[in-house]
Symmetry: C2
């Protein structure tokens, strides 16, 4: 059983209980939605990051780990069309890490990103761990009453959009595995071609280690009620599109030529036997937003927010569970090959 099947079963167990709660959306979306009052709902997400599973100490500077811990949760809040408000952080550290300056640099990176979006760190927990660093990031956001954007709202005919570019974070991870390291200083030019390749490598490492959550896009899509359904791309486009379609009860066809493959991925892939389209379709952790817009709302969609563009990549169909990809007049099934923790 993978974690998605288990979570589905757990959701059924929880839904069958009688709790007079104000949980509008519980288990099974990017975040939970809780009814508050005076026109406001809370949106809450938690993300667990564990050393040697979700990151490696040697290749992740502490400051960037602090940044990423918050970024992944801000991305979930954005995926609900909500504005982030405050946060909590649980941190488990081995004794020898506690004694060094890891915790100072980690919180430096965390708080710098929190400041950028006006998020207040309101609490958390600090614990010792045996030998691995453990992080649980919790962010609470806000939306107007009943205006959180769920995964479940897509309807046949809705257009499928994605922000930014895809494949960069997964390529960055592969580069790290090949030994590349993010340089603190800008790359030194040693020749025009090498310079540009080093620049591409550094940019892709940044996509993996210093992700930019699409907070601005989330707020715009939520406030203007432009998206019918939304999810963030954490596991990979093929998996996350399948999650969205499963919750909405539909299918999708996407256009291969419209997938916004990261330009640096294309630049580097030739020499390294990497397929740029596969990385864009199945690579995780780009933390872009994947959302659907009903035909009558498409004209109202801004072209860019905070400098990040959006691409139309396909359409929702009424064929439940069928995720197809089209290249000119050929069309085939797109299997969900994104990340899962358990098989």
């Amino acid at each position: 059983m993978n974690e998605f099947e288990f979570i589905r079963r757990l959701r059924e167990q929880v839904q069958s209980r009688e709790t007079s709660s104000r949980v509008l959306k519980g288990i099974g979306d990017d975040a939970a939605v809780i009814s508050q009052s005076l026109g406001r709902d809370s949106v809450i997400t938690t993300d667990l990051l564990i050393e040697d599973i979700d990151f490696h100490r040697a290749s992740t500077p502490p400051r960037l780990l602090g940044h990423k811990a918050l970024a992944v949760s801000l991305s979930d809040i954005a995926a609900m069309g909500a504005r982030p408000a405050y946060s909590f952080l649980s941190l488990g550290l081995p004794e020898e890490i506690w004694q060094g300056d890891f915790k100072d640099k980690f919180y430096e990176g965390y708080l710098a990103l929190a400041d950028k979006f006006g998020v207040a760190l309101a609490g958390g927990d600090i614990s010792r761990s045996k030998d691995k660093i453990v992080i649980d990031s919790i962010v609470v956001g806000e939306v107007s009453t009943r205006s959180a954007i769920m995964r479940s709202g897509a309807r046949p005919g809705d257009q499928v959009f994605v922000t930014g570019t895809l494949g960069g974070a997964a390529t960055g991870l592969k580069l790290i595995e090949l030994g590349a390291r993010l340089s603190e200083a800008p790359a030194v030019a040693t020749g025009p071609s090498q310079d540009s390749e080093e620049h591409a490598i550094q940019s892709l490492l940044g996509r993996q280690l210093r992700p930019s959550p699409r907070v601005g896009w989330g707020i715009v899509l939520g406030t203007e009620q432009l998206a019918s359904a939304m999810i963030d791309i954490s596991d990979g486009l093929s998996s996350d599109l399948a999650h969205l379609c499963a919750e909405s009860g539909g299918g999708a066809v996407i256009e291969s030529a419209s997938i916004p493959v990261d330009k640096d991925v294309i630049k580097l892939c030739g020499r390294r036997a990497l397929d740029p389209l596969a990385l864009a379709l199945h690579g995780g952790e780009d933390f872009e937003l994947l959302f659907t817009v009903s035909p009558e709302n498409v004209d109202r969609l801004p072209r860019r927010v905070d400098g990040v563009e959006v691409s139309l990549i396909g359409e929702i169909t009424d064929k439940s569970g069928s995720i197809r990809i089209r290249e000119k007049d050929r069309e085939w099934d797109l299997p969900a090959q994104g990340f899962e923790h358990f098989k």
Copy 2:
């Protein structure tokens, strides 16, 4: 630097930031308090539990681990005088644990306790971990506007109370370390004296492995506005009383003879070279509530809630930072010797 010093510094860093947030109480109490609207504040706590630090797999049945993960957070909510409402759970499991029935039994224990108090599990995260089980428990509770009970409200002359009995959980931990195990079935009588000793052992193991958060007391003290300050006893009475006094800017004198030492601790200690009073003063994880009541409110305090009695153990003084213990006409300093993760 221990974690309390680090948290104090982090709190100063966070407080110096300008965030137009509704965080009424941030870092540094049992839970954060967030201003909502229409007469209600939210109270939020997170608790990280890590294998081989906070629990051991061999001595903790999965069902009880699920129970305890929620219980420790419910205790924090009770310590704010709040009513628990909904919860989140982040769980990191090694591959081989995922494949077994651990997760089913764990959620069984968690959900049984959640049901008891009408708490709705609203979300969380599931991740793989390298080799240790990792749990982060998040509970959100509610209080009337501005009526959460902080650690900081105690004033000189306020009376100090504690619910239930102390020392049981720490003794239970020592028994586990000595090889005792909680039996699923009731102890079989093999003679009057052995029977009663086995009963005491099982009861103390239960205090460690199956703690009862004082949810009812928390709700009564919050609703009736009876307590001026409150904290739950997770690190140990001596440490938690010091935390409360530090936040309130006062000191305390407690009466040795009034400490409600667990009867089973007294029964077992003779043969095992354990000092029952030391266990009650410094042992952690009893999850009782320690609170202060102003003299004019003492008469309104109920004697018991949900069958759990309360003991008057001392008084708040104006001697900042001075925690004293008195036995008849002798009096001495009570050092904070409770649990800390880092020295």
